[in-house]
């Protein structure tokens, strides 16, 4: 039977996760220069549009249909969302509306490619990126989501789910592998395919709007409660556990990132606080339903410190992972996925297990490692190929002029801001000419105060 409380929570969670993509847009968009912020916003926003359509057409089915092609993807049983309307999902007696699950999972499929965009800030052709998103979700995300998120019998009593969830039995409560390691590895691939920005690292722009970065991080944190606690797919104690561990780990990661900054740079920064929050959220994502609050604190503290150090490596490596997709999401995702092997405890989740420190030995750790590296390698290789082919065919990178002059103007014919007295801007001739030819609308000429 449909449990209305559970369904309400899943619907609310789906809305919360939807908000994460705009949140990410602002988190990233604030870090770019002011002449490329719109492009960054658009790279994120377009993921909502593209994946929103593909998910309905075939994506949901590819991810959550019953095993097909030897378990690579789901079958086509749910194309166009067939067999979901009016259906229930989950195990009896407390079930949720299938479509609420469809929408909840869609939002994961949207934000994952959006995450990648940070690796190639300021330099990607917008339509090439849009094409990349469409191909990437089809070839990388939907399959991986099938492996990780599709549990036997959840969407349908007879459905056979993916290998990581059901055979390997690695734990990934809300997407440490499918979302973060996946996006991080893809970001690495694209940063390599597109290469460094002109002048990087000597002439980089500092973040043009740090308040936007914090606004984005805050919306991400807020939405992440849907992501993590919503992944319980019920308004249950398990959801509250995930909510708690998410909060504690994130708080810990903010502190440890700031402490690393204090030690290494002498000052705690706003960028650091925002980044620490994201690092903590990333790391606790796979673990949030499997660890207790103390375990969550350790995971958060470790993730904040590790990521704070990891983002510094790109200068040594000569890798222009512009907004640190690798340093935050791949490293953070790996941290959380592996630490489950140490901190998992069946005390918080009867379907979970025990990690090394809770008497479970190394049993869980190797499963975690296999899942993490399988997704990482699959994603990196496929993403590199997709990016490489797009680059060789339609071209992935804007011209040098566009990069120097500003990608917003070149790709979108817009400027993000006009804070000055508008200097010399005016409506261009064509519209005016059109107007001159047309009679003025009836009412306007007779109005008080109207001046031409």
């Amino acid at each position: 039977m449909l449990n209305s409380g559970d369904t309400a929570w899943v619907l609310a969670s789906a809305a919360l996760v939807m908000l994460m993509t705009p949140g990410l847009a602002f988190f990233y968009g604030g870090m770019t220069g002011k002449r490329s912020t719109l492009n960054m916003l658009m790279m994120n926003f377009i993921a909502l549009a593209v994946v929103g359509v593909l998910w309905m057409l075939y994506g949901y089915s590819e991810a959550f249909g019953s095993d097909a092609f030897g378990g690579l993807v789901g079958d086509m049983h749910n194309v166009l969302l067939h067999n979901t309307i009016g259906m229930l999902a989950g195990s009896k007696p407390d079930q949720i509306s299938s479509l609420s699950f469809v929408m909840f999972q869609l939002m994961f499929a949207v934000i994952t490619p959006a995450l990648i965009s940070g690796a190639i800030a300021d330099r990607a052709k917008f339509w090439a990126w849009t094409l990349f998103v469409a191909i990437w979700v089809t070839v990388v995300y939907f399959p991986v989501a099938h492996w990780v998120f599709d549990f036997n019998g959840f969407t349908d009593p007879n459905a056979v789910g993916g290998w990581i969830a059901n055979k390997l039995k690695a734990f990934d409560f809300a997407g440490g592998t499918a979302v973060h390691i996946n996006a991080g590895a893809a970001g690495l691939a694209l940063a390599l395919v597109l290469g460094k920005r002109k002048g990087w690292p000597k002439k980089v722009n500092r973040p043009h709007n740090v308040p936007f970065v914090l606004l984005g991080a805050s919306l991400l944190w807020f939405g992440w409660y849907g992501f993590n606690a919503g992944s319980a797919l019920s308004a249950s104690d398990l959801a509250a556990v995930a909510f708690t561990t998410t909060t504690v780990a994130t708080a810990g990661a903010v502190l440890s990132w700031l402490i690393v900054e204090q030690v290494k740079d002498g000052k705690p920064t706003t960028m650091g606080a925002a980044s620490g929050a994201v690092a903590g959220l990333v790391a606790i994502t796979p673990a949030c339903g499997y660890v207790d609050p103390l375990g969550a604190l350790v995971i958060g503290l470790v993730a904040g410190a590790v990521c704070a150090l990891a983002v510094r490596l790109k200068y040594r490596l000569g890798l222009d992972d512009s907004l640190d997709v690798v340093g935050c999401h791949m490293v953070g995702g790996l941290t959380g996925t592996l630490l489950i092997g140490l901190f998992a405890t069946s005390g918080v989740n009867s379907l979970g297990g025990n990690g090394l420190f809770y008497g479970g030995g190394l049993n869980q750790l190797w499963r975690q490692a296999v899942a993490a590296f399988a997704v990482m390698i699959y994603s990196f290789v496929l993403s590199y190929i997709i990016g490489w082919v797009i680059n060789k065919t339609i071209g992935f990178r804007v011209s040098d002029e566009a990069e120097v002059g500003g990608i917003d103007e070149a790709e979108h014919a817009e400027s993000a801001y006009e804070f000055g007295d508008t200097i010399g801007g005016r409506l261009a001739e064509p519209a005016l000419t059109a107007m001159a030819k047309e009679p003025v609308a009836a009412g306007s000429a007779t109005q008080k105060g109207s001046a031409s």
């Binding site: 980089v204 500092r206 740079d265 920064t269």
Partner: protein
Amino acid sequence: MKLITAIVKPFTLDDVKAALEQLGLLGMTVSEVRGYGRQKGHTEVYRGAEYAVDFVAKMKIEVLVDDDQADRAVDAVVTAARTGRIGDGKVWVTPVETVVRVRTGERGSDAL
């Protein structure tokens, strides 16, 4: 006619304005500029990457004055803008050939 141009620390603007008013100079034009010189800039840090900002925020003040008031005006600005610390700025004087008040078309001293 002379044009006095001053590059000063932004927070001294009110004092400079008051000092000029004391001399009966009631007009000026100001703008935000950034300066480089003996005064050091500062370093910012974003995700561990140090970012050197070499230029320092300054205020540029331009005042048109009659020839005979130029010296007094320069002194007034210098005194008002002085904090005694590096980066207090420069004041310089350039000759001006004509000044016109847009509203009336008046020229020379009358235009001020």
